[in-house]
């Protein structure tokens, strides 16, 4: 069980041509992932998704807030201990091409972390071999077909499976999958998504799934929670399918409207609208709704007061929440 409370990350001001102010990349984010549970984060580029994942994996320190993992407050630990403890959290990044060293075979790529663990646990090389075969089987790969190969000889989907297998060598409790399928061909995506779902169900691994493709969040397992994040703040959260079917926040509705409609198979949602993608860099004062400058439904109150996240099961931060059906529906003729 993981609990994140009031997580905030401020990146200091950068001196440069455009003279950046300090960036609040993550602001007061709270969520929890039960054992074998999943939480997905969606939001546009720059909304803070990766920063949350990196903090959880111990690659970035939060400015404030607490991270509890199985009853232990990680943020209070000394750095070296924290680093060891956070090995339970493994990060899988977007690009399976960069994640693997092109000059090392798959056997070497998996052997390196296993040797470290074997030394710690006083195990021998037979144990390493067994374990290597075990993690490859878990990701659905026949060891004999890949061990002697180099990364460039594998498909994107296979490579991402190897990256996941490498993460599994340390028996993680949590996987953070940051855009883990977005660079893989669509034909292979579903297989990797199903693998993540199986790892949850079979091995009790918890999943933090970061994506800008909302549809893929549905496939890492039902009963998952979806968090919509905008400029570092959670603006809507709840069960994945409920948010897709009944989104309250205009920003969530914009993200869902942006999902392409499959002509011939789907009908566009009756309330779908063409979302605006501002390139707005300007700072928005704390006293107004963050989304109000881009919101097609903004009213006076939105320019006077910042809405708080309200509700429990399905929460939203909007003064004028209205459910809009923006998602495409399947045509009857499909089958």
């Amino acid at each position: 069980m993981i609990e994140i409370k009031n997580l905030t990350k401020v990146f200091p001001a950068r001196k440069g041509l455009l003279g950046h102010d300090a960036i609040k990349a993550v602001a007061n984010v709270c969520f929890s992932i039960p054992e074998a549970g999943s939480v997905s984060f969606i939001g546009e580029s720059g909304s803070g998704k990766t920063t949350i994942g990196r903090i959880l994996a111990g690659l970035e320190t939060p400015s404030s807030g607490d991270i509890w993992i199985q009853g232990v407050n990680v943020t209070k630990m000394p750095q070296a201990e924290r680093r060891r403890f956070l090995r339970q959290v493994q990060l899988i990044q977007q690009d399976p091409y960069q994640a693997l060293n092109p000059a090392r075979t798959i056997e070497q790529a998996l052997g390196d972390p296993l040797k470290v663990i074997a030394r710690e646990r006083g195990q021998d090389s037979a144990w390493i071999q067994t374990r290597m075969h075990d993690v490859l089987h878990r990701v659905g790969i026949e060891p004999g077909s890949v061990l002697n190969k180099y990364p460039h000889m594998l498909s994107g989907g296979q490579r991402q499976r190897i990256v996941i297998a490498r993460a599994l060598t340390v028996d993680p409790k949590v996987l953070v999958a940051d855009e883990a399928v977005s660079m893989i061909d669509v034909s292979l995506r579903l297989g990797v998504l199903k693998l993540l779902k199986d790892l949850r169900e079979q091995f009790g691994i918890s999943l933090l799934f970061i994506t800008h493709d909302v549809a893929s969040a549905r496939y890492v397992g039902q009963n998952g929670q979806l968090f919509v994040i905008y400029k570092g703040m959670v603006i809507e959260s709840g069960p994945t399918d409920q948010i897709i079917d009944q989104p309250y926040h205009p920003y969530t509705q914009a993200l869902l409207s942006a999902v392409p409609v499959l002509k011939g198979l789907e009908n566009p949602g009756p309330d779908r609208f063409i979302p605006l993608r501002g390139d707005d860099q300007e700072l928005i004062p704390d006293t107004v709704c963050l989304y109000q400058p881009r919101c097609p439904f903004a009213q006076t109150k939105c320019r006077e007061e910042r809405p708080a996240l309200q509700g429990t099961e399905h929460a939203h931060a909007c003064h004028f929440p209205v459910v809009r059906r923006v998602v495409a529906t399947v045509r009857a003729n499909e089958g």
Binding site: E44, S187, K194, A215, Y219, K263, G264, D279
Partner: protein, 334 residues
Amino acid sequence: MAAEFEARDFHARGVQIRNLRVSYQTPQGDIPAVNGVNLSIAPGKITGIIGESGSGKSTLAMALMNTVPRPGRIISGSVVVDGIGDMLTIDKESRRRAHGRHLGFVFQASQNSLNPLRRIGAQVLDLGRSHNVKDLRALIKRAKELLGKMGLNADRVLLSYQHELSGGMRQRVGIMFALVLDARVVILDEPTTALDMLSQASVLQIVRQIHQERHLTTVLISHDMGVVADLADNVVVMYGGELAEQGSTEEVLAHPLHPYTQGLIKAIPRISGPLDQAVALPGLPPDSAALMAHGCLFAGRCPKRLPVCGESRPTYESVGQGRYVACFRVAGHD
């Protein structure tokens, strides 16, 4: 205003590709990246080209412009653009003039096609000079008009270097370059890959709008069926350097004929509907051995395989109403 911009012709231009073959020469042998492609690109329509990574989409697009880089080589075929002629045989100078002026091209990962050391505005002027545009002020005006239409602050963008622009802004700048000389045929190679959903939706909306306003012929290349399905009028499915199927988007999606197309559509993660309807496509794209073999390129992955599929390759046949397919299972082959 220069006459060259006023005299816009509004006749959309088609492109006829015949028996096109392109291969890359590598130490491991020749890779037939585009292998005997026959395709008519309808004037005034958006044609989507879809296929897995390595299926030859970018190579086909570059061959269309006759700009295949080494070690690639166009081995045979013709690419006739209405009003210009065969891109593969016209002289160098006419070809150079055709680029930009008649054919606009946005490269895959468009960031790489911009010069990192020159401001965007200066690059617009470079482009104009290289095409002997007399009225450079009018050209800048048109660039601003296009950028503005795409929701960008035109003055700021023209003064920027590429590294000062976000990925979504660069894609839009790439589209501006493709259109600023008033090209009539526009080829977009993965214009939204690596963009987030909102930037993608806005780029697609811009393409749709400009396509209509200017009566363009647009070729949209993507590995994402969603993007093609949302935008394109017609879709062409590529597999292993060959065409597997084509037709109107609605028809192909609702009634795919080729087992590969069927598998591809089933494998799309969907935003609504039952989860178990989506099934991953098993197997891998053809390797070089499969490309050289006699049988159907898809036979190794095909759930509907017949004995004949391992022996010879099905030809790409018309099955009526603008639909073509290369499959022994489909009528027209027996």
